[in-house]
Amino acid sequence: MSQTTSEAKRLLDELDGRDDRAIGTWLTRSADPAETLRGALALLERQKIGDPRAVERDASKLARIAQSTLAPDAASDIARWAMLTRAPALTYTNQFEKAINLLAAAREGASSRIVAEALLREVQPLARLGRLKEASESAHAAARGFDAIGVHVQAAKARVNAGAVERMRGRPEAAVDAYERARDAFLSDPPTLAQVDSNRAFALIDLGRFDESEAAFHAALSAFRDAGLGRAVAIVEGNLADLDARRGRVAGALQRFERARQLFEQEDAPGDGARVLAEAAELAAGAGQWDEAARMFDEAVPGLAAAGLRAELARAQLAHATILQRSGHERESIDLITEAQQGFESLDNPRMVAACEVQLAESHAGLGQHDLARRLFDKAIARAKGRAFDEAEAIAPALLHAARLEDRERAHTLAQRLDPSRFDHPILRARICFALGLAARLSDDLDTSRLRFREAIALLHGMQGALQADRFRVAFMRGHTDVLERFITLMLDHPSPASAPGEADRLAFEATELARSRALAISLIADRSDEATAARADNWRALREELSALYSLTESGEQASAQVRARIEVVRTTLDEIERQTLANASANGDAAGRVMPPEAVVDALGESCVVAYYAAGDELFACVVHDGRVRLQRHLASLTRVHAIADRLAFEIDRAARDAVVRPAALERTTERCEALLEELGMLLWAPLGDLPARVTVVPYGRLHAVPWPALSVANNTPLASRYSLTVAPSATALAELKRRRSAGDRWTLVSVPDERAPQLLAEARALAHRFSAERTLIAEDATLDRVRALAADSSLLHLATHGVFDPSSPLEARLKFGDRWTTARDLLDMNLPGTVVVLTGCETALTDVVVGEESIGLSRSLLAAGASLLVMSLWPVHDTASRRFAEEFYRRIPDDCAARDLQRAVTKAAAEAAIAIREEFPHPVYWAPFLTVGDGG
């Protein structure tokens, strides 16, 4: 420490305790009283910036001391430095006008140095007031002033400020220039240089120069790490996350956001934490996790507002509005976008104003206000002119809008301005390819249209596969289904003219496979260790235990209290958050999407198997019949609306009958015929038109048809399909082809039964089946703990679970089974290891799933298949205790004692069909005999 610096520090320390005269006397004896006073003011500025009153008090005192100890000119200089010192504290506490006035006063008649210092200090208050042009002029003037007197480090600081303001003005080229000119002055000061590089990296992002930006951030990150600056490291981690997000690298971005958030937590920096949270929310929104994103925005916004982060607040509002718009709340989204736009306008940021205009245009288009939408798109495109990335982000949605309105001329003009190969951002590229595909379709250039759609789908699937966990992959396709639907329609209506006979049907089938259960297909082959790790985290386990206990409180048959329900919600939300954080730090199965069997290989992989895959284009329900390496398209089976209406009526009748079956069985008599009529009506629509099919068929349902009891449908004489066909259901043909690769190791069977007073037949079932299971592999009641079941399941070729089941459509991952020690949910089951196991579940509603966008069905079946099972026997509705026991008895009676492991799936599928028919005589109403379905690979 130099003598002057140490004297300045002492002067500041003694300011409180001694009177002006004593200090003045001491000061006159110092080496350079004027420098000591300036040093003390500089220290004061740094140390007490958050306390403007203290700064004003101490700075005024130092000015008075200067007046009594220095020559008038020197004293006047110190008085001006005192004003310079007070200004940042005023700015820090949002007293911007006061700060600017003070600095203007300081400049009057001052030396060049003080003028330059004052100009530098007014950049920030001017910018915070949104007077960006003046702020920019002040920053550049300060830089010139410092250069003129040879104070180059200060000149560089002024340029750094100029760069920040230029970015806010939407002039990234000028910002990059300012930062680059500033760098040289800081070569000997790595942390400051790192700060400059970090800012420069942002300006490079604005210019779409992502590689250079990444390099700049990495340089900054390593310098901050070397200097031990934790908070700065967190900021750059957040910046790199943002960069990853903008480049569409969702997996990397999630990891970095989480790392940054944790670092900010350690550094106790709530404002920055809120910023990172808002950015992560933006990413989550882009990845289709809308509920989670909305929750994160709600959490982040107060923090952003409290920290005065106006730009970040506006950005969060814009992203939140996007979710609202996509979920059909256009009017609310318009309000929020308008607010964000005002925020960006006050910050003089035309880039983000253009982004707001694009979003506004989409919302107005959603409300059918197409002229207004068109004008807003044009405004945004004009505003983005010259910035290739921003321009493409505005043109692509404008083109989509034009194409949807079949405005050929406009679509053609806009399409000319888009070239996907210029961008390495997969989501933007996918949007451009989709828009170009639609434009080509409008121009009847069908080959180009097909190619572009296919390219867009491949890009989206690539991104989907790079996500860490099933839930992220499932959510990702939200907002991206348009391209799949358009592709399917195109392939149906305009199969490639170049294709060989029969090839057109095959291409249409492949298109439907690309649109269905891709996340599940990835889960069937992906490494699940990350999800298993999440499931083993201590706090996760503790909360799961609590949730299990809460579920126990709801099982008595009575409605749970409001308190219990509220606590269940809290615990579920907390678990979601833990999973999000844990999974965000996990490694991604980056190449998983690439390892899923391509649709063109699926038909051959299915071999002799017959698959009937349903799909809908608009309201037209159609089926692809795959058999012996060929595909036959059966179009116009029925109106989807009509099929849904019948399926709804059937569900209504069955639910009512399920209750009547135990409460007033006599009432069933009058509904048996009605149910049978509905089953026949469905059979006539869904099955009869398909013509001759082999005896073993796998059905791939579509949407709500996942809840249809396929084996119970009939096409004539009230004869169920189960009596003629061995039917299995699969989530997709691709998933089936993947499941066919699984084979059970060994021939051990495990029996689990958890009876209670409500379902005493569960115990009777276990007793009746006991001869088929060894005693050491039979777990009854409290012996059937999750850990023991998990241990035995790991080498079981068949696992029989006779226990209560519960399905919750509002939270399908909480579908659960009652074990001896707890309720085991679909989440818990993901942590199991089932080596190609056949799992038989005779509880209620175990086959029910929530079918979400992308034909992903979520429930127990998904978890069990992802955990390694090859085939499941499950129920579609609340099952009757006695009838289900009878089904189980008949079912096992039909599986030979000496059934080899390789034949098990086929035997199980056949036995399930025959057992249903067998108990039908005893229990004629379908509610009794028809709930069970086989799901997976039927052999």
């Binding site: 009575e558 209406a645 709804d648 569900a651 007073e757 209560h804 509880g843 009757h880």
Partner: protein, 203 residues
């Protein structure tokens, strides 16, 4: 003007807890439509409770007894289908949301199912969830199970100014409507009678 006969007095009347003079006073008022209607509701409620069909009075009964105003679903039904011969008050026979599982089943139903009964009409309502959307599928029939022509009137109660929707019953007496989460009032016409189904919370 005669003083109002309180519901409490009607309840005691029905339970036989009044003195003879009080009984006579009420009998003298039974020709008044309001008193007769409220007595019918009290009687219905007591019967339902005696039969163990109710844990709590239905929303419709409570509303009637407390005289809470509600959007006039019956006027809508009358405008569309003509005046009904009379109006029955439904009571809840069972509600799977209150009793999700019963002995003899291996779990509960995920879709809510509510059954209503009145003197000569029955109604069943199933509420299933699909994302934020809720679908109500229902059936209104004579107690014998025989369908009758008619319609259902429904209005959202927690959204001021919501309009009443009318949905025709099909040949099986069924109807379907997609709804948002909220509180609704329901009434139905089946043949010549109206049925006051009451309020239902859709969550």
């Amino acid at each position: 003007m005669e003083p109002d006969v309180s519901n409490e007095a009607l309840m005691k009347f029905e339970l036989g807890e009044l003195a003879e003079s009080e009984i006579a006073a009420i009998r003298a008022r039974l020709h008044e439509p309001d008193v007769a209607t409220r007595l019918a509701h009290v009687r219905h409620l007591l019967h339902a409770m005696r039969d163990g069909r109710l844990d709590a009075p239905s929303a419709a009964s409570v509303r009637r007894l407390k005289r809470i105003p509600r959007p006039d679903l019956f006027a809508s039904l009358a405008r569309a289908l003509g005046q009904a011969a009379d109006t029955l008050i439904a009571t809840v026979a069972y509600d799977t949301r209150l009793h999700p599982a019963v002995a003899g089943m291996r779990g509960g139903a995920s879709a809510a199912h509510v059954a209503y009964e009145a003197d000569s009409l029955d109604a069943h309502i199933r509420i299933s969830a699909e994302g934020q959307q809720r679908r109500m599928t229902g059936q209104v029939t004579r107690t014998s199970g025989e369908p009758c022509p008619g319609a259902v009137a429904i209005v959202r109660l927690d959204e001021p100014g919501a309009s009443i929707q009318l949905i025709s019953l099909d040949d099986a007496g069924m109807f379907t409507i997609d709804l948002e989460v909220g509180r609704y009032a329901l009434a139905a016409r089946c043949g010549e009678r109206d049925l006051d189904i009451g309020d239902i919370e859709i969550s």
